[in-house]
Subunit: 194 residues, 2 copies
DNA sequence: TCCGACTATGCAACCAGTTGCAGCACTGTA
DNA sequence: TACAGTGCTGCAACTGGTTGCATAGTCGGA
């Protein structure tokens, strides 16, 4: 598991509260790592107990029970240790491919619209990533090592989405060969007589 | 969750025992959906209770306590229902990108060799996929709808691996700009004085 | 005949992630 | 002053996945 380490990284970049972390995870880091606020609070508790981070109640006063977390040397050492470890690859694991395979076994189920929908969602994400890239990494500017790495990470997202878009295009073309009947699952199911 | 549906699909393609399913998951379906034998046995139990599948003890006799599972009409109906549902996209979620980002915050940690290693693993997988493609989907042959879909699924894997390889090449090039010092984490960490 | 390797199934405990809900503090507005 | 909205934290229950271990039959070889 590495949610703790994702949080350490995020806190090093910017000490914040659990809530802020949760919101941040909807943006930058959240592009490639997900967590709910529940997970984050629980994990912050553990990390504090482990001596990796420390919290102080309410630094910029007034705002409720807010606690701000920051990384202790032990946490930084742990992050350094962990970052150097080698980890297995994240394997391709996509529910939709299972659906496609099911479609192959039990006859055309009219997945065309769903393919279109998914392609469009990927295209939305790609557009969003490109917008971030245009804003934060203008061409020509060299940038620090840190900026180069952040750009690299963004490019991983771009590459990922672009790859899927290309694949969905191919899939749509391949399934279009079935002809117009592909859009009518009921009729085809009846054909199979079950 | 959709392990149950992956199992239904797999059982429709070929009725088999839990153990065989587990081994099959190391191959075809396992390229994009993972499951341990524990998960599979537990799930088969649930599915049988739900009336989606039925089991008979030891059809091709002699072999231990082996049970063979096959899909019932209710299971096929359920699979059909599920395959038509729309599901959220699988998002990019990669631990290594967190490590990279940690490297950006706490200075060069010498991730070069790990990048190389990961690139090589992706290349291995890509080679394996290409071998399967050459064997099962020779160019020129048209093939049935089912074969076209299976090819499509394989191509998703190929596209995925090829994308990562391209990205790792880019990453290696981008981090090489740091010069030879990048491979010596200790020295650089000391530089930072913590 | 015993032993180790492999096929095959399963229990129990644990861990991570999700969901639903509740509570409290503050802010703006009616 | 009351009330709705939102920032912020948290408990409790559940689900899915992992790990470690136990068992039992079968087969081939020393």
């Amino acid at each position: 598991m590495s949610l703790a380490h994702a949080l350490l990284t995020s806190l090093l970049e910017q000490p914040s509260s659990g809530y802020q972390l949760a919101r941040r995870f909807d943006k930058s880091i959240g592009h490639f790592w997900r967590a709910t606020h529940q997970q984050i609070y629980r994990e912050l508790g553990r990390m504090e107990k482990a001596g990796w981070i420390r919290s102080e109640p309410d630094p910029d006063a007034g705002r409720g029970r807010k606690r701000s977390y920051s990384v202790l040397p032990a946490g930084e050492a742990e992050l350094m240790r962990w970052a150097g470890e080698s980890a297995p690859l994240t394997e391709l694991c996509d529910e939709f491919l299972v659906r496609l395979r099911a479609d192959a076994v039990i006859g055309p189920l009219g997945l065309g619209p769903e393919l279109e929908r998914r392609r469009a969602l990927h295209a939305d994400k790609l557009r969003a990533y490109h917008a971030i890239e245009a804003r934060d990494f203008p061409p020509g500017a060299e940038g620090s090592r840190q900026r180069r790495i952040h750009h690299l990470i963004l490019k991983a997202g771009i590459q990922y989405e672009a790859g899927w878009i290309a694949w969905y295009d191919e899939a749509l073309a391949a399934l279009a060969l079935d002809g117009p009947g592909e859009g009518k699952p009921q009729a085809r199911c009846a054909d199979r007589g079950r």
